[in-house]
């Protein structure tokens, strides 16, 4: 009787989850599995033939593809900068907003506005600023520190990308921090004030520890997104000049869709990136969850 019931229950479960499972398996799981398979072939995306070459792609990536590793390094560099900058900025903004008496809503609304607009559009707007407006300011108002090739010069284009990424992404993280800060019980603050604590001491001893869980989440989000950055760089510099700002997502995209259309090879690369991201975010989550518990 119980056995029959269990089978019936399982069938019902499957029936309910079937639609979701079908689309999800078709669009995510099967491609992921195919990805594994393709990475072991030399498929060029067009030819129906997909010759199996085992781990040859991976050998090639590890021995001769310096562009790939360069782009990975560049992505690392970008990730570190953006994770640190975005989280600090978002936290400061959140704290700043929460410390105000009035206008909190207005600020919050304004600060999140850039996030609502696709980064592609935002990048084009910034492109206008970098290629026209800043030069105008430099030429007309004599602000020569602005007179740089923000998109063409490898040194400066990095900062240009960071600026746009911060502009378009901080709002989201900031909102999470605001919610976390709002979740700190008032009583703790009141008690601390009675004890004569300065705002800074309160910040350090009460607020920060109490929002520790949000650090974990925000760090995870920013880390994950930073590694896969594509839109900003693609529209702002296209990875250029040359390959100076080529992040790994663009490297893979070009390998597959431009150049020699080496789909198999490109998939192998994306698997490596996936593995790296997985390892890093797992470490990040484990470490921080442990620290959270300690706090």
């Amino acid at each position: 009787m119980a056995h029959q019931n269990a089978t019936k229950r399982n069938l019902q479960l499957l029936a309910c989850t079937a639609p979701a499972l079908i689309v999800f398996i078709t669009m995510k799981i099967i491609p992921a599995v195919m990805g594994f398979w393709y990475s072991l072939t030399s498929w060029n995306g067009i030819n129906p033939k997909k010759p199996f070459i085992g781990l040859e792609n991976f050998r090639e990536i590890f021995t001769t593809d310096s562009y790939f590793w360069d782009s990975l390094l560049f992505t690392f560099r970008y990730t570190i900068w953006i994770v640190v900058a975005m989280n600090i900025l978002a936290l400061l903004l959140a704290l700043g907003i929460e410390s105000q008496r009035r206008g909190k809503g207005v600020f919050r609304t304004l600060f999140y506005l850039p996030n609502m607009i696709s980064l592609v559009i935002g990048s084009f707007m910034w492109n206008f600023i970098f290629t026209k407006v800043l030069y105008y300011m430099a030429d007309t108002w004599g602000w020569s520190f602005l007179d740089h090739s923000w998109i063409g010069d490898p040194t400066f284009s990095f900062y240009a990308i960071l600026t746009v990424a911060l502009w378009g992404g901080t709002g989201y993280i900031m909102i999470i921090y605001i919610a976390a800060i709002q979740g700190v019980p008032e009583v703790l603050h009141e008690a601390a004030i009675v004890d004569g604590a300065t705002p800074f001491q309160r910040l350090r001893s009460i607020t920060l520890p109490m929002i520790a869980h949000s650090f974990t989440i925000c760090l995870f989000i920013t880390l994950n997104n930073a590694f896969q950055v594509f839109d900003v760089v693609y529209t702002l510099t296209g990875g250029g000049p040359g390959r100076a700002t080529q992040v790994v997502a663009i490297n893979i995209y070009e390998e597959a869709f431009n150049n020699s259309n080496r789909f198999g090879y490109a998939t192998a690369k994306s698997l490596i990136v996936f593995a790296i991201v997985l390892v890093i975010t797992s470490i990040q989550l484990t470490v921080m969850k442990r620290r959270e518990q300690e706090l």
Partner: protein, 426 residues
């Protein structure tokens, strides 16, 4: 309570929207499954910048078919962006989902496609007889015509005739003469070269022209040897002299200037020369209709034989060999070179005349370029792997911002070519 109401409203609206969308799209598809005597042609083309003109021409075709043959034709025009065009086309050809007609790059792709059996023989069609001899060769394989040429261009670099005349100079034939031209221009306060390196295909035009000239003038078997992993960019290293000359005497902020911006600046007289193809003439003229454009062959070194213009038939229309709509597809192909309407089309697209049915006058610059061809100073566009040309463009950008040296350029290009060969072999 209010919140719930708002939620309900939002959900209802979304659901309504979705349902109406489904109905609308359903309605749309129903219409197409209409009665007989209606033919649908799928045409895929790779110049989205001419979407408007082509749509207009297609409408004319549909009208003509209806009037003359009483057949209702619907031409579905697809214009993917050019970077992915080849992938899409090849995917569709290999999955039996091919369009009835499609454009391809005559010089580069025709031999492969003919061999694979994808394109139909057009030699017996009226259009074939109308083609100019040179042009006919460029769209033929084994003397048979396989595509209708659209863009047949002769190009080198563009120069501003007014500026040249004001300085009393003419288009140079050797590297030394070009250096003199540069000197004179600067003396008179003009910037010699318009630089627009934001999009890597523009600087790549330099390598295309220089390699073409050098190879056809001095090392005709270089390309074949490169494909056999037996050549090196070191053999053509003198192209870097001209590249250096151009990069050191050009407009500032090149990395921020896209091809259109470059065309606009050139039109406004910001520089005397612009290394761009004649296809750019349309944009240039739209900014400044008064400008007098000349075409020159870019010198490579002091060997005049290497100073040539590029002769290329690029975008051409082919008929899919196994199309179920063979008759109508052929009609369409023939219509491209229609006695009455073709001239207007080619003129609006600012293409060169390719057949006897074209009676519009060549633009001045086109005549300039043709002069080189008449003198035997042209070369057929070199066919290099796409990965190689992409890399050339990127490296030129890097060279400009001084991130690579000429030596590194050569080494990297050799490696890239070998890698491309390897990919082709797989």
């Amino acid at each position: 309570m209010k919140k719930e109401k708002t939620m309900k409203k939002i959900t209802t609206v979304l659901v309504m929207l979705c349902i109406s969308m489904m109905l609308l799209s359903g309605a749309g598809t129903k219409e197409q499954a209409s009665p007989a005597k209606k033919v649908t042609l799928n045409v895929m083309m790779s110049f989205p910048r001419f979407t408007e003109e082509m749509e207009a021409y297609v409408a004319q075709f549909e009208a003509k078919m209806l009037e003359e043959k009483g057949i209702e034709v619907e031409v579905e025009l697809e214009m993917p962006s050019s970077d992915q065009y080849r992938n899409i086309l090849q995917t569709r050809l290999s999955s039996n989902d091919a369009p009835d007609l499609f454009t391809l790059h005559a010089t580069a792709d025709l031999p492969t496609y003919v061999e694979a059996g994808y394109v139909a023989d057009l030699s017996s069609q009226p259009l074939a007889a109308k083609l100019y001899p040179d042009v006919r060769t460029s769209v033929s394989v084994d003397e048979k015509v396989y595509a209708v040429p659209f863009e047949s261009t002769v190009w080198g670099y563009l120069y501003n005739k007014d500026i040249f005349e004001a300085c009393g100079i003419t288009a140079p034939d050797t590297l030394d003469e070009m250096k003199e031209v540069v000197r004179v221009l600067k003396q008179n306060g003009y910037t010699p070269f318009q630089l627009a390196f934001q999009e890597q295909w523009v600087p790549q035009l330099m390598t295309a022209l220089l390699l073409g000239g050098k190879v056809s003038g001095e090392i005709p078997d270089w390309v074949d040897r490169m494909y056999a992993d037996q050549g090196s960019y070191r053999e053509v290293a003198d192209i870097f002299e001209m590249i250096n000359l151009v990069m050191s005497n050009g407009t500032p902020r090149a990395m921020e200037t896209g091809s259109e911006q470059g065309a606009a600046d050139f039109a406004n007289g910001k520089a005397a020369m612009y290394i761009q193809g004649t296809w750019s003439a349309e944009s240039i003229l739209s900014v400044n209709p008064e400008i007098r454009i000349g075409v020159g062959a870019l010198p490579v070194n002091n060997n005049e034989d290497c100073t040539r213009v590029n002769l290329a038939t690029t975008t051409s229309l082919a008929v899919y060999a196994d199309t179920p709509q063979k008759e109508m597809a052929m009609e369409f192909a023939n219509y491209i070179l229609d006695d009455e309407d073709s001239s207007a089309l080619y003129e609006s697209l600012k293409f060169n005349p390719v057949a006897s049915c074209h009676d519009f006058d060549q633009y001045d610059w086109a005549k300039d370029a043709s002069r080189y061809v008449a003198e035997g100073r042209a070369y057929m566009d070199l066919v290099l792997p796409q990965a190689v040309t992409n890399e050339q463009g990127k490296l030129l950008q890097s060279l400009y911002v001084k991130q690579v040296t000429v030596d590194q350029f050569i080494t990297i290009m050799d490696q890239t070519f070998k890698a491309a060969n390897k990919a082709l072999a797989q």
